[in-house]
Amino acid sequence: MTINSKTSGGLQIRIAVQNFMQQAIPALLGILILVAIWQIAALSSKGFPTPLKTWEAAKVVFAEPFYIDGPNDMGIGWNVLASLKRVVIGFGMAALVGIPVGFLIGRFSFIASMLNPIISLLRPVSPLAWLPIGLLLFQRAEPASAWTIFICSIWPMILNTAEGVSRIPQDYLNVSRVLKLNEFTVMRKILFPAVLPYILTGVRLSIGIAWLVIVAAEMLTGGVGIGFWIWNEWNNLNVENIIIAILLIGVVGMLLDQGLVAIARRFSYDNR
């Protein structure tokens, strides 16, 4: 049921609650089933913590998420923020390079032929293989991590942008020709808005990859970050905390993605 200007106040509230329940109840059910499976798995294995034990550990971890006890021991909040910072830097660079390159590939077939083989070759390479190369190039752990995120998350940016450019209806370009728009105006007023939805899809994919990569990279490079926090907990064989970190990583990743979806919807003109 939809709400329009004719629905009364009380009915509006009832309908809103109804809609919410329709979404929330199945979701809650899903989570409950997951927890039940978890409990069964924990009871029948050696060393795997139960949901209750994990909850107890979580209360400790989140009690003071922003404490600082020296550079080697900081609250989980700082660790997440440190990782996010690296993601933003690495992804930012990927966007800065990837979007223009995607444009060029979509617009000029010569460049497409030149770059496509290289892209196909480099795309499937694992982040853990790029990291040592980053360390050799930059001789420092921080830029090496940023580099690893950059090189792993740039591919969706390039490919989705190129796809968007190539999908621009020829009619739009004909309009621009009839109007005798210069190349720069074409890019600004026609290409860029037309490609924006594709770019945003690329951004979503890239951020997802970047978030994945940073956790892996941090396990190897150390420092403050959620990846190294996990490594640290593994060093203590503290499985509850590893599970907590997994859930936290999932939640943060989900929030990032949802945030981008909301932005995409604002820029969407597709009301069909």
Partner: protein
């Protein structure tokens, strides 16, 4: 060491000590004066904040305590202990300069000098951090199959296909690898041909053993105690049984760093040496140390897992308990920390033995390059009251009776029945 040895050593070093300080000038004889003079003026450390990497093992204690008990400030520096995720990471950050120095495996640094398991880089070693305190853990599955020592392990290995059993160590050229190989070879098991041999980080060792994927590993405390506590494995042999008072971790850095920061190098060595002496002073100090390093920022494990073996209270998980005469030592009246050339050379001989290097290098020359006895002596003087040995070599007898004293290294490397 016997009582007699100790006495002679003490006398010799006292003479040496006095001789050394006379050379520096009469007014500098008292330790207090030395400290205050050296902290100021042209002897001031070039770099005050030093990033010293460590891996969360019990033997990182002297580096950590040097910072926590503020021994570093005594010598005009600030030590920032930086927890690292792997030996490979320590290696890379030492070479790139992201770390000024590190708590590091003896063999790793020597390997780097020759370009083995890392890019060739001129390295330096300022002092030995600890003796003893490592062990080889075998799985409970092996225990259930009747394997409780080297002999029974050999029987089990012979009775099965090659490669059935997997053993792990921490770094290809590192200390744990060499203890493991020595012990296996001594039992008649070829560490490369008869069993699988892998490099794996400590938590992975334990987890793999838990799920039955690992037969044994050699690693530092507290992991061996951990394995017993978690009912996964037992201690087959301690490293001090293989070589009593063996060199283990060192304070490593690059040759270039020492050249650029000689005063900082000296101050750093002095601070860690002072902290090492403090730890070994009493059981109370050891207990305090255990409580500090157990914290989240350092080893991140319950105190009980560290404290027992640190105090020498051993239980091998097979029902045997004892007070170990050669438990982990950080100072031992100066006997631990001196950069004996023979110690470094021993690792080179084992690298050659196992084919990690192809030809005999100039053992002595390399040890002379890496082991900075010059920096150590200056640091020892700064700390004051540190016994210095008369000789750059020391004599050791290993578990198989072989004696190593630094002479004829090429011959020694070649003298083993089992090699590669």
């Amino acid at each position: 060491m016997t009582q007699n040895d100790k006495k002679t050593f003490g006398e010799l070093s006292r003479r040496r000590f006095i001789a050394g300080s006379v050379a520096l000038g009469g007014s500098m004889m008292m330790p207090g004066f030395i400290n205050s003079v050296w902290a100021a003026g042209s002897d001031a450390p070039e770099k005050k904040e030093l990033r010293v990497g460590f891996i969360p093992l019990t033997d990182c204690s002297s580096v950590v305590m040097a910072a926590v008990k503020k021994f570093d400030e005594k010598y005009g520096i600030k030590i920032i202990p930086v927890k690292e995720s792997s030996w490979a990471s320590v290696r890379d950050k030492l070479v790139s300069g992201e770390l000024d120095a590190a708590h590091v495996l003896y063999g790793l640094v020597y390997g780097l000098q020759l370009g083995v398991s890392g890019p060739q880089h001129d390295m330096a070693m300022l002092m030995t951090l600890n003796n003893n305190g490592q062990a080889i853990t075998l799985s409970n599955q092996l225990k259930q199959a009747g394997v409780t020592d080297a002999e029974s392990l050999k029987k089990a290995v012979d009775a099965s296909d090659k490669g059935t059993y997997t053993f792990a160590q921490t770094f290809p050229t590192g200390t744990h690898a060499m203890w493991l190989y020595y012990w296996l070879a001594n039992a008649g098991i070829h560490p490369f041909d008869d069993v699988r041999n892998v490099v794996v980080p400590p938590p992975q060792m334990v987890v793999n053993m838990k799920i039955g994927n690992m037969s044994g590993f050699c690693v530092g405390e507290p992991w061996n105690q951990r394995a017993i506590q978690d009912d996964i494995g037992y201690t087959a042999i301690t490293s001090q049984e293989i070589w009593p008072d063996h060199p283990e971790k060192i304070l490593g850095t690059t040759s270039a760093w020492v050249a650029a920061n000689p005063n900082s190098a000296r101050a750093l060595t002095a601070a860690v040496l002072d902290a090492s002496r403090w730890i070994d002073t009493s059981d109370a100090n050891r207990i305090e140390t255990a409580q500090v390093v157990a914290a989240r920022a350092y080893i991140n494990t319950p105190v009980e897992t560290i404290q027992g073996r640190m105090l020498g209270n051993y239980d091998n998980g097979l029902g045997k308990q004892w007070q170990d005469a050669h438990s982990m030592r950080f100072f031992n009246d100066g006997a631990v920390n001196y950069p004996y050339l023979s110690d470094g050379m021993w690792f080179l001989t084992q690298h050659k033995r196992w084919g990690l290097i192809d030809t005999d290098p100039d053992y002595l020359a390399i040890a002379r390059k890496i082991n900075r006895t010059d920096v150590y002596k200056q640091a020892a003087t700064a700390v004051g009251g540190i016994n210095l040995p008369a000789d750059d070599m020391r004599t050791s007898t290993l578990m198989d009776g072989k004696v190593w004293n630094g002479s004829n290294p090429a011959e020694y490397a070649n003298s083993f029945a089992m090699k590669r």
